[in-house]
């Protein structure tokens, strides 16, 4: 059985970088897949990998991580740039979606500009998937 844990932005916005990383990692270590509204900063992503490595042991083998960034929206032009600037100012790191799963459950998260696929270890079958871009 695969358990998904939805993490709304309101649950992490008051936390420090360390707190956010801890929260995500604690859920992943409970063998749950985290679906977080928003995203970590780039430096926090690196810190998450570093902390994950520090905690790898017999039972915890690491994580699979995928972030859908708002910049993956390929709109171009001056109006799109102004629009993106306003959205960025208003929402900041609330934009996007982060998926973190324990390596013992998630085999791979395949991502390309049009979709995201999550492959679980069980039977190596595609259990979840597909978020098409607008």
């Amino acid at each position: 059985m695969v358990t998904l844990r939805i993490l709304p932005y309101t649950e992490i916005e008051h936390l420090s970088s360390l707190g956010r990383i801890r929260k995500i990692l604690n859920i992943a270590k409970e063998n749950k897949i985290v679906l977080m509204q928003g995203r970590l900063r780039k430096e926090e992503e690196a810190e998450l990998i570093k902390t994950t490595m520090e905690e790898i042991d017999k039972t915890f083998k690491g994580i699979e991580l995928a972030v859908i960034y708002p910049s993956e929206n390929k709109e171009t032009g001056i109006f799109a740039s102004i629009k993106n600037g306003i959205i960025n100012t208003l929402l900041g790191d609330r934009q996007g979606l982060t998926i973190v799963g324990p390596a013992t459950i998630v085999k791979q998260i395949k991502k390309d500009p049009k979709k995201i696929e999550l492959l679980t270890q069980e039977e190596n079958s595609k259990k979840k998937s597909s978020r098409k871009k607008k």
């Binding site: 780039k42 992503e45 690196a46 083998k61 991580l65 972030v67 390309d112």
Partner: protein, 208 residues
Amino acid sequence: MIGKIKKFLSGFLKKWGKKKDMKIGLYGPPNGGKTTLANRICQDWLGEDMGTASSMAHETREINIKEQINIKSKGKELTFNLVDTPGIATRIDYEEFLKSGMKEKEAKKRAKEATKGVIDSIKWLDEMDVVVVVLDATIDPYSQVNITIIGNLQARKIPVLLVANKIDLKKANIKKIEAAFPQYKVVGISAKYGKKVEKFYETLFEVA
């Protein structure tokens, strides 16, 4: 306050000393060919190898530095310290090493060293003046590890050169890497066979 002064001084000294001992780091996921490229550079300019490359993931588990490499291309000259780093991964499972015939004790030791290697690679990011991200051109470049490495370099304002390695293989697709990271220069090479390495050196001069 003291922290701020320290930060300012270290930034100033880093910039001031840049020309003297520029550090060029080889970064990327495991098995992209970082050590093979490091060996190619060292063979070309020093006549010796830098480390051991193999087809097994996490062969490099420690930061390796080769100092004072002097390269020349089209009348230009560049001297730097080459830093070969362990591959960055989000998961390490010792059981994966067992599949290649390794004994359990050895596999566990290797896994432990590999986790430390990843931590060291990330810690060393701040020390780099230029980074060459080495990607296996036969593998999908849209992995989160690639995006995180490149995003961190961008956030730190470190110049980046992308190497699409293993172009000697049929499945290699340089265009896919160019499409994934359009803001960076991409050079397709075969570090193993020395294919297009001249082009790599030329582009390194442009980036460094």
